[in-house]
């Protein structure tokens, strides 16, 4: 149990350092990438590319194991359907991301330096998560 929690801590730390190093915590870079018809900034492509190539290669080896090292089973979504909540939710997320340039990870990393924008964004994001919970009736 202790090692399980330490593993999560290490993964989170590596994740956060990667976000900060890659510049994803600077929303100007995100909007620069999303602004394909303006002053386009390709940085995000290198970040996502580096991350996705790494997971695509390494996940194959990991998932070939019967179980993870410190737990009994892999917890993976077994949803297969491309349904309306998936697409509508992704569209809402995209609109929010395109307005200010924050997705959840970089906003959290920004909280680590008490960035003013993260301090405005995060409570609203949490409210949005709570609102979804309420409307879904749980």
């Amino acid at each position: 149990m202790k090692r399980y929690i330490l593993a999560a801590l290490a993964s989170g730390a590596l994740f956060g350092a990667g976000l900060a190093m890659s510049g994803m915590t600077d929303a100007r870079r995100i909007l620069g990438f999303l602004d394909v018809f303006g002053d386009f900034d390709p940085t995000l492509l290198f970040v996502l590319g580096g991350a996705v190539v790494t997971t695509t290669v390494l996940f194959r080896f990991v998932l070939r194991r019967g179980s993870p090292v410190l737990a009994e089973t892999f917890h993976l979504s077994n949803l297969r359907h491309i349904d309306r909540p998936l697409l509508a939710g992704a569209a809402m997320f995209g609109i929010g991301w395109g307005i200010a340039g924050y997705c959840p990870g970089p906003a959290l990393a920004g909280l680590g330096v008490a960035s003013t924008e993260a301090l405005w964004f995060m409570p609203a994001m949490i409210a949005g998560m709570g609102l979804h919970r309420v409307l879904k009736g749980r």
């Binding site: 602004d35 303006g38 996940f59 949803l79 992704a90 569209a91 959840p104 998560m129």
Partner: protein
């Protein structure tokens, strides 16, 4: 290092962090989902989620604060824009069960068609939104 090199290196770190969490704990490194489990604990597996988020916030913040030439967060964006964007990101990522990390980095890494569909939708809507906000609105 030039911007694209730190971007690529940071991206690989994010991919390694996600691989570590899947390999050791069998968990998907989706930031919005992990955060949701911290804010609205349900199943009793909250501790590892807290550890991941703490690691992300502290390491991300420490990198921004202490590493020379680390990219700094923006701080002059419209507060109203941040609030509206936060609500949309929070609601949308819950509705579609994932954000840039869960669907993007991890979902594509395990070749999930659902995640690929979500990524295409949020990328395109984000680009369209940035276009509207930057080129039509102002």
């Amino acid at each position: 290092m030039t911007t694209w090199m730190t971007a690529l290196a940071g991206g690989v770190m994010i991919g390694l962090a996600a691989t570590l969490l899947l390999w050791l704990n069998g968990r998907v490194a989706g930031v919005s989902g992990i955060l949701n489990g911290v804010l609205f604990p349900s199943t009793g597996d909250t501790a590892w989620r807290v550890a991941f988020i703490v690691g992300l916030v502290v390491a991300g913040g420490a990198y921004i604060a202490f590493v020379p030439d680390a990219p700094q967060p923006r701080d002059d964006f419209s507060r109203l824009g941040l609030l509206a964007s936060g609500v949309l990101v929070g609601f949308g990522t819950r509705m579609s069960n994932g954000c840039t990390s869960g669907h993007g980095v991890c979902g594509i890494g395990r070749l999930s068609m659902r995640s690929l569909a979500a990524v295409l939708v949020f990328m395109l809507t984000a680009m369209a939104t940035t276009f509207v906000v930057r080129h039509l609105w102002s």
